[in-house]
């Protein structure tokens, strides 16, 4: 058994395992003759379990989507005072198409490689596919079919489709403007916070002056400064950018600072005995060592900046998803609000995913990292 694992690891099945094993076998042991054995033994050991003919969860999901489609199409909408919901038939047809695709994958998934690949990609999502169909069906019944949840505060799924097809231009503009403002504010704030954090972590003199200011003013929520900044800044847009930068800079500065201050002192000793200059100690030792902390700060700053961003857009900035929400509220158009909230959720989640992707690349050297 051990010989099999040994060889498998050295063949590259697991790089970390190979290193450990090579280390165990260090020295003369490495040159000891490795017993030869049957390749099929390894294949059996590592062979994936055979895919079953029927994908059970997929089949149930297909049934659930079919039921959702059927009830959307066959159960007449309850008409409350105004014209019928548009896109009801389209939604029903869409659900039936999803059901048909899932049925094909679950029954005939093993027929051809492309189908098998699609099925394997979806296997983990099976329970979610069932749950989504059931949730959509319940939503459809409670709103369009029975009216248990009253209009205009609640709307059926097809109403969202209507918003996205009719108002996509305004929503798209809002999303772009939100991203732009977020990029300006978060970018400036992250840079400023990083520089402040590094300098107070590195220089005692700068720390003496900046640290107390940071401690007193840092915890003040940026939104509390909103009325003040709208007065001081030339435009509400620049005021919002400043506040977003401020809310980002605080956590980034504090975490960068603690990262720099917490660097293992012997890292500096090593570099100094090797002839490193002060600039080298900051750029090549302190900053890389503090980087994991910096990313925690960026993550926290991003969360804070979202809330300031949306508040600022609701209060003064005349564009963006926050503005869209208040605009929709002014028209009592709750469907548009739901639509905008969904866009916002996807947008912000995507931004955080992007941050974590960058983090994973920058910190590839770390063993285990926080999952998103």
């Amino acid at each position: 058994m051990s010989a099999i694992l040994d060889n498998a690891a050295l063949r590259g099945a697991s790089p970390a395992g190979a290193l450990e094993l090579a280390e165990q076998a260090e020295g003369t042991a490495l040159r000891a003759p490795v017993p030869r054995f049957d390749e099929t033994q390894i294949d059996q050991l590592f062979a994936a379990p055979r895919t079953p003919a029927l994908w059970g969860a997929g089949f149930v999901a297909a049934l659930a989507w079919a039921a959702f489609g059927a009830l959307t199409l066959r159960w007449p909408n309850k008409i409350v005072g105004f014209s019928d919901w548009a896109f009801t038939d389209e939604l029903g047809v869409f659900a039936l198409v999803v059901a048909a695709l899932l049925a094909v994958l679950s029954v005939a998934g093993r027929a051809t490689p492309p189908l098998l690949r699609a099925r394997e990609a979806l296997t983990g999502a099976g329970p979610w596919l069932i749950a989504i169909a059931l949730a959509l069906a319940a939503w459809e019944i409670l709103t369009a079919k029975t009216g248990s949840l009253p209009t205009p505060f609640f709307a059926p799924p097809q109403a969202l489709i209507e918003v996205y097809t009719d108002d996509w231009q305004r929503l798209g503009d809002s999303a772009v403007n939100t991203l732009k403002l977020l990029g300006i504010g978060f970018g400036l704030g992250a840079i400023a916070g990083f520089l402040v954090g590094v300098s107070i972590g590195w220089s005692r003199a700068i720390g003496y002056w900046v640290h107390p200011v940071l401690r007193v003013l840092g915890p003040v929520p940026a939104t509390a400064l909103l009325p003040l900044t709208f007065y001081f800044f030339p435009s509400s847009y620049s005021a919002a950018a400043f506040l977003i930068a401020l809310s980002t800079a605080f956590p980034v500065a504090v975490l960068t600072w603690s990262g720099v201050a917490g660097v293992n002192k012997s890292y500096y000793d090593v570099a100094r005995t090797l002839g490193a200059s002060d600039a080298f100690l900051v750029l090549r030792v302190a900053i890389p060592a503090a980087l994991p902390n910096v990313f925690v700060g960026l993550f926290m700053g991003l969360g804070a900046s979202f809330s300031v961003l949306v508040t600022a857009e609701m209060m003064g900035v005349k564009s963006g998803l926050g503005w869209y929400l208040t605009w929709a509220q002014g028209w009592a158009s709750y469907v548009n609000m739901y639509a905008a909230l969904i866009v916002m959720a996807l947008l912000f989640s995507g931004v955080i995913t992007l941050l974590f992707t960058v983090r994973d690349r920058a910190l590839a050297w770390q063993k285990g990292t926080v999952k998103w």
């Binding site: 790089p15 970390a16 290193l19 450990e20 090579a22 280390e23 260090e26 020295g27 293992n264 012997s266 890292y267 000793d269 090593v270 570099a271 100094r272 005995t273 090797l274 002839g275 490193a276 200059s277 080298f280 090549r284 030792v285 890389p288 060592a289 980087l291 910190l363 050297w365 770390q366 063993k367």
Partner: protein, 284 residues
């Protein structure tokens, strides 16, 4: 060991930096034919405040000849490692002078490289980039990149050049730390219990490797250890220190050729002497 004084009489007056950057004409790491001469004269050292001073070194006088291997042996916490930090230039002695080839040591210099008890590899750098640290810090990496691979080959870790430190075992990490020191072609290698945290088998293997590296490169070596056998196996002279404040209580000359044999009767005899100076000879 080749003596500096005869091969280059003018050398003592020159700045030590010249030795660190002496021309490289071989692709392999060239043997450094000039180990540093270290003179420690009347060194006292205190830690702590004026109210609660703590003396760690008491009138230490010691010389290391060029190319000599000297071990400092003493009870743990006695102040041997502090002496190494002073020699490395990481701290200044409270009283007394420490010179390298006649020049006072005031700050760290790449001609004196320290290998610490922990490998202290930078976890964000691959093995190769960790070894390249000294060359990069002095801005000569572009010119002398081939030395990195040569140093890795010398400690037998060429295959792991692209690994990250967390993928290495303790012994491998310490060998990378050695390569990181050797790539700078040091004139003095300061070893602060470099094998202290390794398992006993790896430790024995690395003791032999150390002797081998020292014999080939010709640097002077100053080793702190609290392992009597290690000191006797590696060093030409073993300096025994008292408990804090550290004071030299004995000097043992290990007049045995390399490679040495651990079972040698002379080593057993010297071990008994050393333990007697440390007050631990009852069990031997």
């Amino acid at each position: 060991m080749v003596s500096v004084a005869t091969s280059s009489p003018a050398f003592d007056q020159q700045d030590i930096a010249i030795a660190a950057s002496h021309p490289v004409n071989d692709t392999a790491l060239p043997a450094n034919d000039t180990g540093a001469r270290i003179d420690i004269r009347g060194v006292d050292h205190w830690f702590g405040t004026r109210q609660a001073p703590l003396q760690v070194l008491d009138d230490v006088n010691l010389s290391v000849a060029p190319g000599e291997f000297v071990a400092l042996l003493g009870p743990s916490g006695c102040g041997k490692s502090t002496l190494l930090r002073l020699v490395a230039g990481l701290e200044a002695a409270t009283r007394g002078t420490i010179t390298q080839d006649g020049t006072a040591i005031t700050r760290p210099d790449p001609s004196r490289i320290v290998v610490f008890q922990d490998p202290t590899l930078y976890p964000w750098r691959r093995v190769r980039d960790n070894v390249a640290l000294g060359l990069q810090a002095r801005g000569v990496l572009g010119k002398e990149r081939q030395r990195v691979d040569a140093a890795l080959a010398r400690v037998g870790l060429s295959e792991f050049a692209d690994a990250f430190p967390h993928q290495l075992s303790g012994g491998m990490a310490q060998r990378v730390a050695l390569a990181r020191a050797l790539v700078n072609d040091p004139r003095l290698l300061v070893l602060d219990e470099p094998l202290g945290k390794l398992d006993s088998l790896t430790r024995l293997a690395m003791q032999s490797e150390l002797v081998d590296l020292w014999q080939r490169a010709g640097f002077s070596a100053l080793l702190v250890t609290h392992d009597v056998e290690e000191a006797l196996f590696l060093a030409q002279r073993v300096i025994v220190f008292s408990a804090r404040p550290a004071k030299i209580v004995a000097e043992l000359r290990v007049d045995l050729p390399y490679p040495r044999h651990r079972g040698d009767a002379r080593i057993t005899e010297l071990r008994h002497q050393a333990l007697r100076h440390l007050g631990l000879d009852a069990s031997w």
